[in-house]
Every structure is written in structure tokens, then in C-alpha cells.
């Protein structure tokens, strides 16, 4: 049986929230209003309408088609695992709009958007909400370890302090832009004169400016392949600290690359499960060169400059041809970005692929514990 329209929209909003989109009460209301406003024959246009409401940035924008089709057209979604005994709900946008219009005809129209918010979470018949498919994440993924709870609060606090310390000491670049600063040394004559008009021509309110300095842009590529099983958790924790301290963008990869920054921004104990869901279906092995190519050509296109730092957290075992990684890293370097390679082992990775990258990686840094990160803080600039 088709779930109630408001419940279906609430379920969809819950799915979006689960995947890092910031869909709050206001957005959910707007989605209901959009569905109410659209005539029945234009029901297909709910997709772009809701996309405009729910997406906040280009990352959300790119993720939308897959999330939309996963919820509304589950039969078309690829790469999903159907569990035995689980039936997929039948969801049809046209029916939803029809039901919504019927529903509204029976109730007070003005109350309808609010009613959506009181609708229970998606507990429709035939749609087991707690077990909603998450891209086919199986129970045997390499990142199943949920030992995040084993981190003591003081460890987490230390990690955050370290990340902030490193963020502070990364050299800020001087820009050609100026910003207002009471202690600035350059007088903004035009604005000072303008401000003096209200005091009869006396420059009582001088406007001082100082050059703007910006922190470098940081990208972190975290290897979550099977060979990194025991280290990925630590690396993701560290990456999360840098998302908070430096607004870093974080990607995970093994055979493919996916951005997980929105997931890391939220305080959630189930972040590991969500990353499992993102990376599910990537297959075995590690394809670092392919992932770096994807990162350079798609996700960081136009963002790699000489003020960019790219940190790769990986053991360096690459299933691609050994020369490919050097080619890709050379392209990153050609844009001026500085590459640092963090490895869990005592010695820098000795794989063939990385041997060819000797002049491209600025520094190899061991990273296997918080102590290593503290030591790395002394060399990272």
C-alpha cells in the first residue's frame, strides 16, 4: 500500500538528513508547499523543485539525483542490495501529489504544511524505516569497527587541540584583498571622508584597513581500503578534527573516491556506518591513481592552486599501474598544490607507485597515533 503523502515526504527528508543534507522543519514545510502548488500533470517537476529547496551547495547538488532515485524510484537505483524478505515500497510522485491534493481538500489547507512535521517518521507499511537501504552497505564492510566509543574524551580534546595548533601554524597566505581592522595601518581615505560627512567634515571615525590573510585550502584523501582497515578509523577521526579546525574537505577512497565532508561535520556516533554506506559497492583493492584523477578532475577542479594543501592518508599500495600515480600527482603539483603523504608504517611506503613519486610528495609523515600527530605538528607549516 502507498504510504500517506506527508509520511512519504517526511521519510524522504529523513533519508536526506541521514546523508548529510540539512533538511530542517522549514525545508520540509517548503517541500510540502511545493508539492501542493504543483498541478498533478507537473508532478515530475517535484524533483528539481525539491532539489532547489534541500540542497545548500554543490556537493549536495551532485548527490541529489542518486538520493532522489533511491527513495522514489528504488527499482531503478543501481548498486543496491536487496535483502531476502524485504519488500521495496511503492512510491509514485504522481500518486503522492494526487493524495496530497485529496488530503488537503479534506483538511484545512493552511494547516497542511505543519501537519507534515507532526507526521511520524517514515513508518509506512512495506517500508521498514530502520532498515532503509543505504546503498547496499553490508555487515561485513572493512570499516565495521565501531570502536570510536573507545576514545576517551581527553583524547578527543587533545586531537582537537592538535588540529587547531596545526591549523594555526599553516602559513597564511597574504591576499590582495583588504579588510576593516581597528588596528590596521592603512587609512581608507575614501571611506573616512565619507564617514566624516555625518560629523560635519571632521574625520572622527577613521576607517583602518589591513591586508587579509587566508589559511591554505586543505583537502584530505583518506584510504579506507582493506589494507588500511585498522588505521582508517584513526585517520577519519583526525580528518574530522581538521574539518572543524580548518574547514578541510575530506574524501575517502579505495577503488573509487567519494566526499564525506558533510558526514564528518555532524556529531554522530554512526558516522562510520554512513561512510560504509557511501563506500559500499566500491569493490576490493585500492586504486589510488584513479582516485587522485577523479579528485583532481572533478571534485577539486579549479580549486587546486599554490595555496592548496593535499594530504593523502594511505599506505601507498596501489592496484593501478605504478607510473599512473606519479602522472596524477604531477598534475596536482603542476597547479602548485603541495602534497603531504601520511603513512601508518614506521617507514615511508616503499611501493613501486610511490617510488616514482619521490620528487612530487613534499613530505612523508608517519601517522599512527596522536603522538605521531603531535610530532607532525612540528614539521607541518
Amino acid at each position: 500500500m502507498t504510504p500517506q503523502p506527508l509520511e512519504a515526504i517526511a521519510g524522504f527528508a529523513a533519508l536526506l538528513r541521514d546523508h548529510g543534507l540539512q533538511v530542517g522543519v522549514a525545508e520540509q514545510q517548503a517541500m510540502v508547499r511545493a508539492a501542493m502548488s504543483l498541478p498533478l500533470e507537473r508532478a515530475a517537476q517535484l524533483n528539481p523543485a525539491w532539489r532547489a529547496i534541500a540542497c545548500r551547495d554543490v556537493q549536495d547538488w551532485r548527490r541529489w539525483p542518486e538520493l532522489f532515485s533511491r527513495y522514489w524510484h528504488p527499482h531503478q537505483a543501481r548498486g543496491q542490495v536487496r535483502m531476502s524478505g524485504q519488500t521495496r515500497p511503492s512510491r509514485d510522485l504522481r500518486h503522492l501529489v494526487q493524495n496530497l491534493h485529496d488530503h488537503l481538500a479534506r483538511t484545512q489547507p493552511a494547516q497542511a504544511p505543519d501537519a507534515a512535521l507532526q507526521a511520524p517518521p517514515p513508518v509506512a507499511e512495506g517500508a521498514p524505516p530502520a532498515e532503509r537501504t543505504q546503498g547496499g552497505a553490508s555487515r561485513a564492510e572493512p570499516l565495521h569497527d565501531r570502536a570510536l566509543a573507545m576514545w576517551l574524551p581527553q583524547d578527543l580534546a587533545q586531537l582537537e587541540r592538535l588540529a587547531e595548533r596545526i591549523a594555526r601554524q599553516l602559513r597564511r597566505r597574504l591576499t590582495r584583498r583588504w579588510r576593516d581592522d581597528l588596528a590596521g595601518r592603512r587609512l581608507d581615505l575614501r571611506r573616512t571622508l565619507r564617514a566624516s560627512l555625518r560629523t560635519g567634515g571632521l574625520p572622527v571615525h577613521p576607517v583602518w584597513r589591513t591586508p587579509r590573510r587566508e589559511r591554505p585550502r586543505l583537502f584530505m584523501l583518506v584510504d579506507v581500503s582493506r589494507s588500511m582497515e585498522t588505521h582508517a578509523q584513526l585517520f577519519l577521526r583526525i580528518a574530522r578534527a581538521f574539518v572543524g579546525a580548518l574547514n578541510a574537505r575530506v574524501f575517502v577512497f579505495h577503488t573509487r573516491l567519494a566526499e564525506v565532508t558533510p558526514l564528518l561535520r555532524r556529531e554522530s556516533a554512526t558516522v562510520q556506518e554512513k561512510i560504509n554506506a557511501v563506500t559500499a559497492g566500491f569493490g576490493g583493492g585500492t586504486r589510488i591513481a584513479t582516485s587522485v584523477a577523479d579528485f583532481r578532475g572533478v571534485h577539486a577542479r579549479g580549486r587546486l592552486t599554490r595555496h592548496t594543501r593535499v594530504w593523502v592518508l594511505s599506505d601507498g599500495f596501489d592496484a593501478d599501474a605504478p607510473h599512473l600515480l606519479a602522472q596524477e600527482l604531477a598534475q596536482v603539483r603542476a597547479r602548485g598544490a603541495r602534497i603531504t603523504w601520511f603513512h601508518p608504517g614506521a617507514l615511508p611506503p616503499a611501493s613501486l607507485a610511490l617510488q616514482a613519486c619521490a620528487g612530487l610528495v613534499e613530505r612523508f609523515v608517519r601517522l599512527n597515533s596522536l603522538r605521531d600527530l603531535a610530532q607532525a605538528a612540528n614539521v607541518l607549516q
Partner: protein, 304 residues
Amino acid sequence: MTDAELREALQRAGYLADEALATTLWLCGELQRPLLVEGDAGVGKTALAAALARALKQRLVRLQCHEGLDLSQAAYEWNYGRQLLAIRLHETQPEPGSPRMAETDLFAREYLLERPLLTAIASEQPCVLLIDEVDRADEAFEALLLEVLADYQITVPELGTLTARHVPRVVLTSNGTRELSDALRRRCLYHHLDYPSPAREVAIVRATLPAAEQVLVEQAVAFVQGLRREDLAKTPGIAETLDWVRALHRLDFKALPEDPQGLMGTLACLLKTREDRLQCDAPRVRQVMEGRRAGAAEAGSARP
């Protein structure tokens, strides 16, 4: 106006919007929410607002954002010079029998200089407000915008709160040079404009330059699409394509020449950095051109 009618109106105004964009614009009107448009430079973000104004037959009010933009340049400013003049006039030539000048007389609407935000709010007729390149303004300016975008009102401490007579259609554009605050994003609907497909780009060029040869347009668009796949520092946008086709048309090209040397002089329309010029030498241009026939065939056969 339905989304389909809006799409047609945009087309008549010279902007070929796809169905999703037309729906989003229509939804902005329905929900009375601003639209934040992001995308690479040259994909038509600013042109969208201008076309929307033409399509709706409304006035376009434009606020160009820049570093250091503040309230006095964006919303309103008191006309201090005129206030001082009024005081002097009152002192030197008091009208017989007129009461003493009160402070409130000096802080009346007639002494208020309207800047784009207030112009849009106070407009007697509905209008389209374009806040262009909002990422260039400081973070503090975003906070100023919040009141305007959420409630369509501006508070002038001396006068009170001025509320919009007609809720303006607001379009904000951003090139993504700086992360915008979450508060600003939350108040807007969002649309990401990407580079158009070959068929759509051909249609856009044809609509803008109807005099250019069809073959030339298809080949030029296929070339630019090929160039976008190259690893360039500054990817050419639609504006660059239009400039280039316009240049080729002025030079009496009926189709792209076989020899890339003939094109090198015109590439200034497409390649805007020294590195890109060095990278795109004649052999590289030939490589891109060799893919053009297949590309042009695709661009010509597909429907926009």
C-alpha cells in the same frame, strides 16, 4: 504564471532555461524565497536575473558586491550634505511663523538616499533584485542581508522598519570563491548552473547570433566543448563561446578552417590566462579540432 509559461517567457527574453531551472524560478515566486545560483564563471548566472526581469517585464535592481561593501552602499544612507544645508537654511532664512526645526524633520524619508536593497524593498512596482557575486562581500555583509532576504524588510533606526510593498524576486549569484554562511544558504533556494550540453549551447548561440552559419556554430561549440575537457586554468564559459563565434562570424568564417594556425589569433576570446595560451599550441588545437567533427555531428543531431 506557471513554470512552463515562465520558461517560454525566458526564452522570449533570450535565455534558454531548462525545465528544472524554470521550475526552480517558478518555485521562488511561489514560496517567496530568494534563489542562490552557483556555478563556474561564464555559465549565465547574471544573465539569468537580467532575463528574468525582462521575462516578467519588471525592473532589474542590481547590487554588485565587492570587498568592503557596507550598509551605506548597499541599503541606505542619510544625505548628510542635504541635512546640513537644511539646517543652515533654517538658521539663516527662517520662514516666518514656522516652528523650530525638530530632529525628526532631518531624519525623514526625503533625506534618505536609497541604495539597491532599499530601492528594491521600497519599489512601487514589483522588481527583480540581483545581488551579484555575493561571495566577494565580507562575512559581515551577509549578516546585513539576512533581514532583507528573510522578511523583505529593512530597519532604519531613525525611521523604523520599512517593509516591501511587493516582494521582489531575489537572485543571488556566487562563484564559490568563499564559503557562504549557512544562515544565508538556509534562506535561499539553491541552483547550480553547469556548462550546457552541446545541443543546448548550439541553441543558445543560434538564439544570440542568428546570422552565424549553422555549420560554424556547431563546429565552434564542439570545439569549445572539447576545450572544456582539457586541463585549463580558466575553462571557457558560454560568454566566451559567444564572443568567439561572434569574432569568427565577423572574420567571415563559414566553418572552422582545417589549419589550426588560422584560428590561433581568435583564441584570445576563449583562453584567458598565459598558461592556457602556452598549453594550447597549434598541435593541441589540432587535436581538439579533430574531435570536432564527431562532436559537431552529435551537437547537430541532438535536440536541445
